[in-house]
């Protein structure tokens, strides 16, 4: 399966979707000019990955900032992972947030309330 590697910028996150090495992550800041087209490749990749996923799928979110428009796209990604989980796959979401950033921790909690998929909150020194 094709690997996606997108370098992070000041307004878009770093994205790694590497099934072979089992690295799935979105990290950094997310306020792209056009959220839909920015996240489209991620959703397409997940749709393909879903057909033949690894034995275990761990998806890491390590965002430091995202705007409200991005919040919907993140939900779309989480719902895709939820779908995989509902289909009997072993899926885990890891939501990393700086320990001094309450809002980012809370955002993770809220997503875990919305989607029904194993969800782990991981705080790291800010």
């Amino acid at each position: 399966m094709e690997t996606i590697k997108i370098q992070g910028t000041e307004d878009t996150p770093r994205i790694i979707l590497d099934a072979e090495n089992e690295i799935l992550e979105i990290a950094g800041r997310s306020l792209p000019e056009d959220v839909t087209s920015f996240y489209e490749p991620v959703l397409n990749w997940l749709a393909e990955y879903e057909e033949n996923p690894n034995e275990k799928t761990v998806f890491n979110f390590k965002l430091t900032y995202f705007n409200t428009a991005s919040s919907k796209m993140l939900l779309d990604i989480l719902m895709k992972l939820e779908e995989m989980y509902e289909n009997g796959n072993d899926v885990l979401i890891r939501w990393h947030y700086p320990e001094d950033d309450e809002d980012m921790g809370e955002a993770g909690e809220e997503y875990s309330d919305i989607v029904d998929v194993p969800f782990e909150q991981v705080s790291y020194p800010g």
Binding site: T36, N67, T68, A69, L75, E102, D103, E110
Partner: protein, 193 residues
């Protein structure tokens, strides 16, 4: 001779303008088209000045959030206008001020009069809600508005109220029979730890 007099008048105006900015503790003011590039430039400018002044991390993040949502409100809703209002599309005024106790972010842009009711409704509803209600509303809007590219009705407003804990102040002033100037101020207290 007249030209010279006009120039002097203009320069005096600039000084008055400067004094007025100082009096209102305005640190950034902009009028014009609000694009993604402008949004990036202003947020990074404000970020570096806050970092230089050693503002608390939480306050910095909240100011950043509010600025982005306010600027994107204007830049994303540019196409809400009919052609005769194209001059206003995506344009507006943007101000940041810094007081001893709080930052405030103000935007002003033209809106069609028939949007006033909708905007007032949303803002009144959000202003009345407590933390838990806002959280539930945000979740609902996020789920239901997933297909819209614009950020959904009021998602940005909800986020501002949640992040700042302060009511959003707003005001409409008439421009013409069809349009009004919509002013919105968000306040970010500087005592977040």
């Amino acid at each position: 001779m007249n030209e010279r007099k006009d120039m002097k008048g203009f320069l005096e105006f600039v000084y008055e303008f400067y004094k007025s900015m100082k009096a209102h503790e305005i640190t950034l003011v902009y009028e014009g088209e609000i694009t993604h590039q402008i949004t990036k430039a202003f947020t990074s400018l404000t970020e570096s000045s806050m970092a230089k002044e050693a503002e608390a991390g939480t306050v910095q993040r909240k100011v950043f959030h509010v600025m982005v949502e306010c600027l994107q409100n204007i830049s994303k809703h540019a196409d809400d206008f009919t052609t005769e209002n194209y001059l206003f599309s995506g344009r507006g005024i943007f101000l940041v001020s810094k007081g001893d106790d709080e930052y405030s972010v103000t935007t002003g842009n033209a809106v069609d009069n028939d949007r006033i009711e909708e905007l007032t409704d949303i803002l009144q509803t959000i202003n009345k809600m407590d933390k838990e209600e806002l959280k539930q509303l945000y979740k609902i809007q996020m789920k239901e508005g997933r297909l819209s590219n614009k950020g959904g009705a009021g998602l940005g407003f909800i986020d501002i109220k949640r992040k700042t804990g302060k009511e959003l102040e707003y005001h409409f002033l008439p421009i013409s029979d069809d349009t009004s100037f919509f002013l919105l101020t968000s306040t970010i207290p500087r005592d977040f730890k």
